[in-house]
Amino acid sequence: MTALRRASTTPPVPDPVPRIAAAAARTRQLAVAGIYRAGSGHPGGSLSCADLLAALYTTELNIPGGAATDPTRDRFVLSKGHAAPALYAAWAAAGYVSDEIPLALRRINTKAQGHPHVLDMPLSETSTGSLGQGFSAAIGMALGLRHQYIDARVYTLLGDGECQEGEIWEGAMCAAHHGLSNLCAIVDYNKLQSDDRNANIMGLEPFAAKWRAFGWNALEIDGHDIKAILAALTTAAETPDQPTMIIAHTLKGKGVSYMEDQALWHGSVKMKPDETRHALTELGASQSDIDLWMTP
């Protein structure tokens, strides 16, 4: 709500929520279409983070020129690199790239690598896909920007299972120790990982308490509530002296009924045509888009 109050002090601006919701829907559709066309990829964790990505790329990130060239740009690092289908789709939905990019996912001789690769896609800011590393790289960016007195923010999205990596807690200590208030991390807390529920694989709770104990400003939100996402991002930006962790409670496979809350759809999966048609329909894709995307 802070974001809306702040906005009211300046000339009226259109409510960003409908725009973000539309971008999130488009992100989900393109992610699923890309995974179908690739014959592999991770739908569950792509669908769970679509609202977060849509909020970041539609309104939050300041990326002058829409490319990773301006040194003063905000940075976003997808530390849970296996959600690359959603990242490419979110870029397309927000107008940074054409639909061809998410639809070319995982194909040989294309730039849409299975996990984001900065040399192919500069907007991914670093290469990820090995859990824990994107978080550290984002910390490095935040440190580097602050060292050079560049007033830009760094955002990174983590998976919940990713937080079982020791490197995450090395980084958690580090970012708090260095007081990186220009860093905002978000956990896509969908409670499921590759094989089973987090709680059965390696429990994370008490999760927010862990981050607070490590010196972070930890917030908990519904990761599908766009207003709550925007408010948390604003709180993060206004919090001095410490990094912010937004624990976003989400639903794995969000938006596709047969995928929701099912570890089976963590991936990497080969989606069948009828499953894909069903999913795209539930996600609100138009018939013409479905026909176009499902044509080999």
């Binding site: 040399l119 550290s136 935040a142 440190l143």
Partner: protein, 321 residues
């Protein structure tokens, strides 16, 4: 009571030479920052910390995070120099692979305490696998200078080179091979002593031992060429082919496992160009143990007499061939 003398800061070691050179070179290279994991006193980085405190970053005993953070800092235009012991670089090989090499970041990884040269700390601390591990990473330049003088030159070359580098320093007081007038170039081996019968190709602390071996061989009437191959990757293939052609026998000498390091790099280069008999002086696929560096070098076969014996074996095979 006075403070105990820190072994780490004593002697004319490669790490001290690196630390002094880095601190001086950073005066004009303002994008250089240094990263430490609580061992600046041991890596030589204490010189930099003292001279450039605002460009010194502490990460605590957490090398994996530090390595990937370096990649992120480089992404903002800085030139991070990451320092820790070689064995802890091994701990963060995957971070160096993905967040530095795969992302093509201009990061310099400088590893002190490699090999049996570590001495009394024992097998757990003696990295004998680092050259092999880092050499296998695409795009990673791998360097192991021979003495304090070359270390300073290599530090300058590495800072001015655009791309990821893994560079070994060394713990123990090092013997000098060079005085003034040496010029270091990444990717180029250097003929320290000419000879016709066999070539001893060495890196790091083994260069001085190879020179000593050449003296011994000369006394026995054998003319040994000595090459300081400070750059293990990209290896100087032309020089190796030339040595194979002109001397017909090669011995590689390294304070590292005989598998995958300098010996492997030389053998690969030679096999693809001008094959000749080759013998490998190095640690023979075992871990080290506690002891003084020279005692360990003798026990594990790295000293001049072992190199000379290997030279004779290589030459004997040449005659049979």
């Amino acid at each position: 009571m006075s403070a105990p003398a820190l072994i780490a800061q004593s002697g004319d070691s490669l790490r001290e030479s690196f630390g002094k050179a880095l601190a001086a070179l950073a005066e004009t290279r303002t994008r250089v920052v240094a990263l430490d994991a609580d061992i600046a006193g041991g890596t030589g980085l204490h010189h930099f910390r003292k001279r450039h405190p605002a460009r010194f970053f502490q990460f605590g005993i957490a090398e994996q995070n530090m390595m990937a953070v370096a990649g992120g800092m480089a992404a903002t235009g800085l030139v991070p120099v990451v320092t820790t012991f070689a064995v802890f670089c091994l701990r963060a090989v995957e971070q160096a692979r993905l967040s530095i090499a795969y992302a093509k970041r201009n990061v310099k990884i400088v590893a002190s305490h490699p090999g049996l040269d570590v001495g009394p700390d024992g097998g757990s601390a003696q990295a004998l696998e680092d050259l092999a591990a880092f050499r296998a990473i695409p795009g990673m330049t791998v360097i192991s200078p021979a003495d304090p003088h070359e270390m300073a030159l290599a530090t300058e070359a590495v800072l001015d080179f655009d791309g990821p580098v893994y560079m070994r320093t060394g713990r123990s007081p090092a013997r000098s091979v060079y005085t003034d007038g040496h010029s270091f170039k990444i990717g180029k081996g250097h003929i320290l002593r000419d000879g016709n019968d066999v070539t001893l190709i060495a890196c790091g602390v083994e260069v001085a031992r190879a020179m000593e071996a050449a003296e011994r061989l000369a006394a026995a009437g054998i003319s040994a060429r000595v090459v300081n191959m400070a750059t293990i990757k990209p290896i100087d293939t032309d020089l190796i082919a030339c040595c194979a052609e002109e001397t017909g026998a090669i011995v590689t000498c390294e304070d590292h496992n005989i598998h995958g390091g300098l010996g492997g790099a030389v053998a690969e280069a030679m096999a693809a160009t001008r094959p000749c008999p080759i013998e490998f002086v190095g640690v023979r696929d075992v871990f080290g143990e506690s002891g003084e560096p020279d005692e360990l070098a003798e026990k594990y076969g790295l000293t001049a007499p072992h190199i000379a014996a290997a030279a004779k074996r290589a030459m004997a095979r040449k005659r049979r061939g």
